[in-house]
């Protein structure tokens, strides 16, 4: 199965923002369906493929993780500009989830508690010192930063859920998850 209606292979990407990479692990748990996936799609960008630049033209991009720092903002902007369909992939992208629990603290207090005064006493400079990307004041779900076309909830989403969504997308169909696949958490 799994050919795009156009007959061409789907230009496919996945991205990793503020998340634990669990969603990507779950993606890998597609197991033998991975073969089907990559018969139908070319993987143009992904944390599991060493590609530095987000490519110019992508059909479908799955985005794991919430938007937490300025690099995420920039990548999110590129993803939106260069992808036909953007999918929030997993609870962190969809809701902010665990990544957003830091919203209870001011960025500066957070850095002090964790780094400047934390157990490791990491020598960290000020925000935006050019070494690490500056944290934005509040972690945001992806759709509050850019327009998002489809959502796959779950922490992480079950491989079956991922497949349900991805195979629909490969067919150019809208993502319509069954109820048991729609749970947050």
């Amino acid at each position: 199965m799994t050919q795009l209606v156009t007959g061409k292979k789907t230009r496919f990407a996945t991205a990793w923002l503020g998340g634990c990479s669990g969603c990507h692990m779950s993606l890998l748990d597609l197991d033998e369906r991975l073969i089907e996936l990559f018969q139908a799609a070319d993987l143009l960008y992904s944390p599991i493929a060493d590609i530095k630049e987000f490519p110019r033209q992508v059909d479908v991009t799955l985005v794991e993780g919430a938007v937490a720092n300025v690099d995420h903002l920039e990548l999110a902007r590129q993803i939106r500009e260069r992808s036909h369909i953007v999918v929030s992939f997993g609870d962190c992208a969809v809701t902010g989830n665990v990544t957003s629990l830091r919203n209870r603290l001011e960025v500066d207090d957070l850095l002090s508690m964790v780094y400047r005064e934390g157990p490791g006493r990491e020598p960290r400079g000020r925000e935006g010192d050019g070494i690490l990307p500056a944290l934005i004041p509040r972690v945001l779900p992806l759709h509050q930063v850019i327009a998002v076309d489809a959502f796959i909830p779950g922490c992480p989403p079950d491989p079956d859920t991922i497949w349900e969504a991805v195979s629909a997308l490969l067919h150019g169909a809208p993502v319509r998850l069954k109820q048991e696949m729609r749970y947050f958490g």
């Binding site: 300025v70 903002l73 999110a76 935006g128 010192d129 500056a134 934005i136 509050q144």
Partner: protein, 573 residues
């Protein structure tokens, strides 16, 4: 006391008042008190004492006279002279006034005069406030001298409860608490409702920011409210009434309490009113500072000592109100209309106003207009007349932008609709409401999204929290307005905002949540381009908003800009 005794009491008091050469009436309502009326009254009393004029000059502390921003106000009634009103009276000026008017050849001063024929007075029609500013609210005799309790005596003797309800229905009176429900109809529902006991409640919670119509009525003419309630009690078959007074109105509560005691002592309230078989007691309940307690079901919960939180209707209070009994609940101003209707007839009343909105309405005129204060106007008067004739127009050479009616449940009316007649239905067509009578005038320095934010913040703070759409919806709408006014909103926020407004209107449990989006929607209706300027151009046309935030996607550039500027700061230091 019976009817002839009541008439005799009035006659005695009138004679007493006419025996004075000159009466100095000094407003002792909250606005004048806060601008120094106490010292003025003291000075006048001192003067009378010094000059030994006790038999010739009477100093009376009265209720509100209207042009509150010009207080303290003193009205002088002198034999053989026209009544005159002085504004901004100081204790020194008060002595001069007394000296001039109490002189053997009395004359009016040239200074601080408020012309009686000025449009401020000429365009008003005082029905509910007919005694306000002319009587001492603490003396029952003063009220009786102006015909007070005559309507009650008349109703008890000459009319059946059915006839009273019919008269109110024919008068066309509609509720003054906001929604404008026909009062006669409501009374008839309660009258017909089966129940062993019934109750009457006067709603004096008045929570709209800036509104003080009900406070003024309760402070200036408390017996008027009591009489209206007693007539209602007779008409619907209730023997117990409650006045729910907002906790922030201690003077109103004190004067009402005093009035109830005096009326009971004279047999005008309590057991066997005016020697009839009708008994009616009134008790006061003090609110504890929640806007939502003005909503009738929440108010009743509060009267019963429960958490002041609305409950779903039906059942309506008319069927099942206090302790499950049929209950009539009307606004204080609604009750203020009753005695004049019974006195002068339903037809007299129905001749005032417009086709569907009869009588007069009290407004608290506030905001950027030359004279602010309390006014009573016939229904159907245009907004232009209220603002430019009565209010004297917009000061400081600025332009009129919008008038806000109905407070947090109402809306804004722009200049192009200034000639709309003020009545229930016209205002509703414009996307606002008559409301309880708040009227805030805004000039061109007002930013409409900012105004909407103010009212949304009010609703957010006052939401009782029982139902989700209002509890969370007000917070979310306030956030969205915050984003709009600080420059971080995106066009998508506008869609979210508008959809949420409609949803709240349709799904909230009570009137607070259902009408909380109104100020927002009405400013959107008439000033959409201002919202768009905030979002698309990130500018505030009125120059009010700081616009110091950016939309999420631009935060990166913004953070870099900031960190660069702090880096260079620290390099300097």
């Amino acid at each position: 006391m019976n009817r002839p005794e009541l008439q005799a009491m009035g006659e005695r008091e009138r004679e007493r008042q006419q025996s004075y050469r000159c009466r100095l009436l000094c407003c002792a309502s909250t606005p004048c008190l806060s601008s120094g009326a106490t010292a003025v009254i003291e000075a006048l009393k001192q003067f009378v004492k010094e000059q030994e004029l006790d038999a010739d000059v009477l100093v009376t502390a009265t209720g509100c006279m209207g042009p509150c921003s010009r207080g303290p106000l003193v009205t002088v009634q002198t034999r053989d002279l026209e009544d005159v009103v002085y504004e901004h009276v100081t204790p020194e000026l008060a002595r001069d006034i007394a000296l001039a008017h109490a002189a053997p050849e009395p004359r009016a001063l040239e200074r601080n005069l408020l012309a009686a024929d000025s449009p401020f007075f000429a365009k008003q029609k005082k029905v509910v406030l007919s005694n306000s500013g002319l009587i001492d609210p603490e003396r029952l005799e003063c009220y009786v001298a102006r015909g007070g309790y005559g309507a009650l005596a008349n109703a008890l003797r000459e009319m059946t409860p059915v006839e009273v309800c019919e008269a109110i229905t024919r008068s066309g009176l509609r509720g003054r608490g906001g929604a404008g429900y026909p009062t006669g109809l409501k009374w008839d529902l309660v009258r017909k409702a089966p129940g062993t006991r019934k109750f009457v409640i006067a709603n004096g919670d008045e929570g709209d920011p800036g509104a003080y119509m009900d406070r003024t009525l309760m402070e200036s003419d408390p017996h008027r409210v009591l009489e209206g309630m007693a007539i209602a009690g007779y008409a619907v078959g209730a023997e117990q009434g409650y006045i729910y007074v907002r906790g922030e109105y201690p003077i109103a509560a004190k004067r009402l309490e005093n009035a109830i005691r005096m009326a009971e002592r004279r047999g005008l309230l309590g057991g066997r009113v005016l020697d009839s078989s009708f008994s009616f007691r009134i008790d006061i309940r003090i609110g504890a500072g929640a806007f939502v307690c003005g909503e009738e079901t929440a108010l009743m919960a509060s009267v019963m000592g429960r958490r002041g939180q609305p409950s779903p209707r039906p059942p309506y209070p008319a069927q099942s109100g206090l302790w499950g009994m049929p209950t009539l609940i009307n606004n204080v101003e609604t009750f203020g209309n009753i005695a004049p209707i019974i006195d002068n007839g339903a037809e007299w009343y129905a001749a005032i106003g417009t086709d569907k909105s009869k009588g007069t309405k009290i407004f608290a005129l506030a905001g950027t207009v030359a004279t602010t204060g309390l006014i009573e106007v016939p229904m159907g008067i245009s907004l232009r007349e209220i603002i430019f004739d009565i209010g004297g127009g917009i000061p400081n050479g600025r332009a009129f932008k919008a008038a806000q009616t109905g407070g947090p449940s109402g809306g804004c009316i722009p200049a192009e609709h200034l000639d709309t007649p003020v009545d229930y239905d016209s205002l509703r067509r414009l996307g606002s409401i008559m409301g309880s009578g708040g009227l805030v005038v805004m000039d061109d320095t007002s930013c409409m999204p900012d105004v909407a934010k103010f009212f949304m913040e009010f609703c957010m703070d006052e939401s009782c929290g029982k139902c989700v759409p209002c509890r969370v919806g007000t917070v979310q709408l306030h956030r969205l307005l915050e984003h709009i006014t600080n420059g971080s909103a995106t066009p998508r926020d506008m869609e979210t905002l508008e959809e949420l407004c409609v949803m709240m209107q349709e799904t909230s449990l009570c009137g607070l949540g259902q009408s909380a989006p109104n100020p927002l929607l009405s400013t959107l209706r008439y000033f959409r381009e201002e919202y768009q300027a905030h979002i698309l151009e990130r500018t505030c046309p009125a120059g009010k908003c700081t616009m110091d935030h950016v939309p999420p996607l631009e935060q990166g550039a913004e953070l870099q800009r900031r960190s660069r500027s702090t880096t260079s700061d620290s390099e300097v230091s």
